[in-house]
């Protein structure tokens, strides 16, 4: 890890933070169609994991997917345009926040169904294995999805076929508005043992810890050693979705929220880097400013983009045979 590598990790987390802050503001202003799930507080997981992937490697994402996509290199302009329902968006306005994909970057899709990406990532790994490619697939899923049956099916299938898939659980401790530990037996990482594959818990607010755990799992998968399960412990600073307070009321202890904000993955990594002399606080501020500008430019691009033609709603259902 060079100093530049460290700063790149920070910059990507800062990009996600700036994107999400902008989205949050747009939602509050009432200018964003639909609803959004913010990744603020969990940036170290997506960035740490994607930092060890090549462009050809693949990910599947979740309903809380903006961070994974940006971490894998998605274009903020096209993302913002999609969130605003514009013709220039990644999905021409047909997908929205929960369904952004960019197959050219190996982003097989955010997914509105909790656990929906688990089988898809498994199939992606199956294709790589059968076609003899050395690519890997990182399957992001949440603690909520850990209680879907498809997790167990996907772990089993990946294990018996030794598929190059890294199952990365972002445990933010809340399944929608329920405390996950109250509806979940045992530790999520321990479930790996039942399938005879490695399972580890990692501090999901420590970008380097996530990166190290992901690197080990990716290396193993690439070498034909099969799947792994990583449980990254983290927290979402905001709600399940923006605007939830009108129906949810407070459901998390304020002390708990404060505790996790004190362990903010960006501030923490910045402070560590400053302490080790990797960069100065002013340099970090510059990075945040630069990423903030990038997101503002993305918003201007999106806002200036046209809405899709209504008739385009009928396009893109089927591919034409060659």
């Amino acid at each position: 890890m060079t100093a530049a590598d460290n700063l790149e990790l920070f910059a990507r987390m800062a990009r996600i933070r700036a994107f999400e802050r902008k989205v949050q503001a747009l939602f509050k202003a009432g200018t964003l169609p639909g609803f959004v799930h913010l990744y603020i507080g969990e940036e170290a997981v997506g960035v740490g994991a994607c930092s060890v992937l090549t462009e050809a490697d693949k990910i599947t994402s979740t309903h809380r997917g903006h961070g994974h996509l940006l971490a894998k290199g998605a274009d903020p302009k096209l993302m913002m345009a999609e969130l605003l329902g514009r013709e220039t968006g990644y999905c021409k306005g047909k997908g929205g926040s929960m369904h952004i994909v960019d197959y050219s970057l190996g982003i097989l899709g955010a997914n509105g169904i909790v656990g929906g990406g688990l089988p898809i990532a498994t199939g992606s790994g199956m294709a790589d294995r059968i076609l003899g490619r050395d690519q890997v697939t990182v399957c992001f899923f949440g603690d909520g999805a850990s209680n879907q049956g498809v997790l167990h099916e996907a772990l089993n299938l990946s294990a018996i076929w030794s598929l190059p898939v890294i199952f990365l659980c972002e445990n933010n401790h809340y399944t929608e508005w329920m405390r996950t530990e109250e509806i979940t037996a045992g530790e999520i990482a321990d479930r790996a043992e039942a399938f005879g594959i490695p399972g580890v818990q990692v501090d999901g607010n420590d970008v380097l810890a996530v990166r190290d755990a992901a690197a080990e799992a990716v290396e193993r998968a690439r070498a034909g050693g099969g799947p792994s399960l990583i449980e990254a412990e983290t927290y979402r600073h905001h709600g399940h979705n923006e605007g939830e307070e009108v129906f949810s009321g407070p459901y998390r202890p304020q002390e708990e929220i404060d505790e996790w904000i004190a362990r903010d993955p960006l501030a923490r990594f910045r402070d560590e880097c400053v302490k080790e002399g990797i960069a100065t606080p002013a340099e970090f501020e510059q990075i945040q400013e630069r990423e903030g500008d990038l997101i503002e430019a993305a918003y201007r691009y999106a806002e200036a983009s046209p809405m899709p033609a209504p008739a385009s709603a009928l396009a893109d259902l089927y591919a034409e045979a060659e």
């Binding site: 047909k94 898809i120 059968i130 299938l157 259902l317 089927y318």
Partner: protein, 332 residues
């Protein structure tokens, strides 16, 4: 395609032959599912010996994940063909069928092709009871984003299966289990038959009978019998339900002025309901009598042979419906 099949070929043999031809023609075609190596029905028999365990894979009984894995694999360069064994098991995997396979291309703004086939035996096969006798084609037709193929003869099955594997979209290919032991001619050189193209199985003047899968054979028997009574019946087999060859049906009704739809599925929101609605929209002025439908009753398929027969499509019901349409006066 160089596959050669006998003139009088079993449906299952025709399907196995088409799969073999498709796998030989394209190395990215893989077959997976429960017991595809042993192949209980016979449609995947011999494939593992010929193409190896990498491309022909027994999968665990994990319908949801295997159905979804086909989506991920298809997005990543394979052309998976999954055998679900019984179509009732689609319901186990419905999230991956409806929310993923049928949606991902559209939701992505057309970024990805998903060339995959979900193959399943379907329909009543003799006291298999409610969880092994389903015909899910109406639900699948409603989804938008999944093609649905439901052939009535070995020759059609072979050609349509090759086309299904070559198609860049998710295709559900249904084998009517009433036809598993049926025989028929299959071309010696297998060629793809276009999806979305109906076939007139018998030409006639007085009434159009649209009959799906094994009902096509029933309708042809009725048509032959009624010819002796001076009633000329046209039998159309849609072969593909999504996309549907609406022109074939409406052109026929424009000539005959009468329609009977025989759909092996429950009545409410079945394929017959949609076909009759389309004809009512397009052919109102042509109709000489009310369109009629012969379907299952709106109950799950019961176990006892007597009960099963009571709720499914019977030949006498088809005959009665055709005659009632021909004899009706004063409509249209």
């Amino acid at each position: 395609m160089t596959e050669t099949l006998a003139k009088d070929t079993y449906m299952t043999t025709a399907i196995a032959g088409a799969l073999r031809a498709a796998m030989a023609a394209d190395e990215s075609v893989v077959v997976l599912g429960e017991d595809v190596e042993l192949s209980t029905i016979g449609c995947t028999k011999g494939l593992v010996e010929e193409f190896g365990a990498d491309r022909v894979r027994n999968s665990p009984i994990s319908e949801a994940t295997v159905v979804g894995a086909c989506v991920g694999a298809a997005a990543s360069g394979l052309r998976p063909v999954m055998d679900l064994m019984f179509s009732s098991f689609f319901y186990v995997a419905m999230d991956q069928v409806a929310n993923q396979a049928a949606r991902l291309r559209y939701m992505s703004g057309g970024q990805v092709d998903l060339p995959l086939v979900y193959f399943a035996g379907t329909g009543p096969s003799g006291s298999a009871a409610a969880q092994h006798s389903e015909n899910p084609h109406p639900i699948l037709m409603h989804l938008a984003g999944i093609k649905v193929v439901f052939p009535s003869s070995p020759g059609d099955a072979a050609g349509l299966l090759i086309a299904s594997v070559e198609d860049p979209n998710p295709v559900v290919f249904l084998l009517d289990l009433m036809l598993a032991g049926a025989k028929g001619p299959v071309p010696t050189d297998l060629e793809p038959l276009p999806l979305g193209k109906a076939e007139v199985k018998r030409s006639g003047e007085d009434v159009t009978v649209v009959a799906i899968a094994s009902a096509a054979g029933t309708a042809l028997e009725v048509a032959a019998e009624l010819e002796e009574d001076g009633v000329s019946v046209e039998v159309i087999d849609p072969r593909t339900l999504s996309p549907f060859d609406w022109d074939a049906v409406t052109d026929s009704v424009a000539r005959t002025g009468r329609l009977v739809v025989v759909d092996p599925a429950r009545r409410t929101c079945g394929a017959a309901a949609e076909i009759i609605a389309r004809v009512a929209e397009r052919n109102w002025a042509d109709l000489k009598s009310r369109p009629r439908r012969v379907t299952w009753e709106d109950v799950p398929i019961p176990f006892s042979p007597v009960l099963e027969e009571a709720v499914t499509v019977r030949k006498d019901s088809v005959r009665d419906a055709v005659l009632a349409g021909v004899e009706e006066k004063g409509a249209g």
